[in-house]
Symmetry: C2
Subunit: 443 residues, 2 copies
């Protein structure tokens, strides 16, 4: 068992009150070596923080002292020593070492700075993500992501959702419109799935009642923006016997829950990022599509007509208007024209021009889309054909509507956008470990 030998504590588990005089072993990276001649300070960083190792020349074995002063920054070490309270040391303690085990020496110069003193370009950081992640700020983002996913699952499981995994390799496009990445699948052509949409609907026919999936989705769109990725993580739900209002309520409760949990459990990481997280107030405002169009036309030189989609600048105009009026960043846009929504969105019975679909918006961008879905086979087949798609290639999906499909509704929310808006990240690539875009396929 190597772990017992190399580490007894993370640095944040040690404190001067309970550990004075005790022997500990920490493991991490050499953050800094300050050699003042008669005394040498080695700051060791692990995932949870930093600890100062202090060596006084006169009181230290010569070999150990010389080994310490020769340590190269970002090398990996395990240090065993006694804890001593010290007002001058960070966190109020220092470690007087009896052993420094150099586990792996770092080359120099480093491909980028780890102290935060020199700002690196995003591309440099992504090229050397293994160094970038050592910065507490970058580390904090992915700790919060863990907390977000944990609480999304916890909330959905508590209200009877079952976790599922659906195929990423598929024969047919989900919506026809979006571009897909083609795969050579043995002797045939297949595609990377752009959404679990059709599968989660099939599961409703299978009586699974409430399902969720958190997994990768792939879109071959040639975007080059700060909020699009070609491989992203989607959080999807589908729920039987529900309409769009039921699942909007689930969505706003989930968002509110996740914000609360992050505020409660990730305060250290929020502090590291300088974020004072505000919990969104429920219920979120429900703005009708036609009201959104009016707001855009009144507040800009745009002249949108009913049936136009909202572009990026229109979204910002509406988002800012809502924020000024309500102080809230999150709101829904509902009652979208049927024609600009996917074929599976259900039109209102009394006004089929309008669909039971919604977008969840953040002041700065779209976060989620959802709808009550069509559950009648013949209507659905008509809608597929009216969008110019070949309904035969959807038989694997349409069959599920012929033999007992319940009414159902659902949504999908981009995990990265949820995180990005929560943390105020400038670029979506900041919240992805190894982003994939048109120009980036490595690391």
């Amino acid at each position: 068992m190597l772990l017992n030998e190399l580490r007894t504590h993370y640095t944040d588990q040690i404190n001067p009150d309970n550990f004075e005089g005790k022997t500990v072993t920490i493991a991490g990276w050499v953050y800094e070596v300050r050699d003042l001649g008669g005394i040498c300070f080695v700051v060791v960083r692990d995932r949870e923080g930093k600890a100062q190792v202090t060596l006084v020349k006169k009181k230290t074995d010569v070999e150990l002292f010389n080994a310490a002063r020769r340590l190269v920054r970002e090398s990996v070490v395990s240090v065993t020593g006694n804890v001593k309270a010290s007002d001058k040391a960070p966190n109020g303690f220092e470690i007087i070492p009896s052993r420094i085990n150099l586990l792996n020496e770092a080359d120099s110069p480093l491909p980028m700075d780890t102290t935060g003193k020199v700002e690196a370009e995003l591309d440099t950081r992504l090229d050397s993500r293994f160094i970038d992640l050592r910065k507490p700020g970058t580390n904090a983002i992915f700790r919060i992501r863990h907390e977000v996913l944990k609480n999304v699952r916890k909330y959905l499981s508590e209200i009877n959702f079952i976790e599922t995994s659906t195929p990423k390799v598929v024969a047919t496009a989900t919506e026809g419109g979006t571009s897909l990445f083609p795969i050579t699948y043995f002797t045939t052509e297949a595609f990377l799935n752009q959404s679990p949409q059709l599968f989660k609907q099939i599961l409703m026919s299978g009586g699974m009642d409430r399902v969720f999936e958190i997994g990768p989705i792939f879109r071959a769109e040639e975007h080059d923006t700060r909020r699009h990725l070609n491989e992203a993580t989607s959080i999807d739900i589908e729920s039987s016997f529900c309409d769009h209002f039921d699942v909007m309520e689930i969505l706003e409760n989930m968002i509110s829950n996740v914000y609360s949990s992050v505020k409660q459990n990730s305060q250290k990481q929020l502090d590291e990022l300088g974020i004072d997280l505000e919990i969104p107030e429920k219920p979120f405002l429900k703005l009708k599509y036609e009201e959104a169009i009016d707001i855009v036309n009144q507040n800009s030189e745009e002249d949108l007509v009913w049936g136009d989609d909202l572009g990026t600048s229109a979204e910002h105009i509406v988002g800012n208007d809502v924020f000024e009026r309500t102080g809230q960043s999150h709101y829904f846009i509902i009652d979208w024209p049927t024609e600009i929504k996917p074929f599976y969105a259900m039109p209102y019975e009394n006004n089929p021009e309008i669909s039971k679909s919604f977008d969840l918006m953040h002041r700065t961008m779209e976060l989620a889309s959802g709808a009550q879905r069509i559950h009648h086979h013949t209507i659905l087949r008509e809608r597929i054909e009216s969008q110019g798609l070949n309904s035969d290639s959807f038989d694997f999906y349409l069959d599920a509507f012929r033999f007992g499909m319940p009414p159902h509704a659902g949504w999908g929310i981009g995990c990265e956008r949820l995180l990005m808006t929560m943390l105020g990240a400038e670029n979506i690539r900041d919240v992805v470990l190894f982003p994939r875009d048109r120009r980036r396929l490595s690391p």
Copy 2:
């Protein structure tokens, strides 16, 4: 809010003691209609069970009675009525309906039977998965899968692992040997990742210390067996400052934990499947590779020599031998020849012919592979080249080893095999919603 109108309770939330005389609304599928002339029984099935709706002709509105007797099997209904205790009804109660809302009528005949009276071939069941899932036994499998994943994450999070997502679209093969599915990624060729291996190791250099990922992996192998898939769900961990013994302990604790949780929380589903789950005893036996070879040679006509891999029949011979001697289905095979393990497995310092790698075996098949990894840059580069791979194409990975890579170890376990061995499923496709193999790309 449609849900309030269509369902107040799942069928298993109703009982004769607390609900007598109360009004409830259930929603589900028409499982059975028994029309006896003067009385008509409609059995409604939802995700959680079944309930009997009873209509006595003399006491029921004519239209309601006629609507009930005309219900087509597997149609979707919402039924409102009063609960009445009844010794003869399943679960001790029946519902006397005031309203039956036919939400979606099913076509007939059904593509397959849902009562379990007629056994269907696996291919028929997978073609009509939306019907197959309505069978309580099939439903039970995916409920248990949810419980397994929930407890895997809970256990790993408790011991400081962070959930991560790494790219599925990659430029380089992880191990060279296995076949990959090629993708057209804009103007270049890319591949579907066969394992998060290289990425989770990079994260160790990034100081993330302990990470896990549960996600899809893709292998273009032309298998046609009952235990291989071309798209599978892998549970992967990587942990810094650990050796192979540390992560074997994590693995056996996780397995034991998951079995216990399923036994505790999914008893209803286990009963449905007729499974009396036995919790594996810890620690699992650690059998050396050379001992395994001896067992095979002593118990069969095979004549394996040191350096040979263990085939399917060899695995069975060893598994049965261990089971006969210990009564346990789970065991490790350790100390594998370095040459038959991937390049990243660490050779023993005092005997580099043997590597610090292990397989977790179940009596019936291999479940997981792991190892302490090489963490020194030059040794790793040599190992990559000695396996005939071009080390230049691994620079994105090798760079992470030059600037402070800690010692680390990890493993990957197939989620489907974990579930399959737990439930004694005959075919791995039984535990996947929509399996992908050489012959199947739909639904």
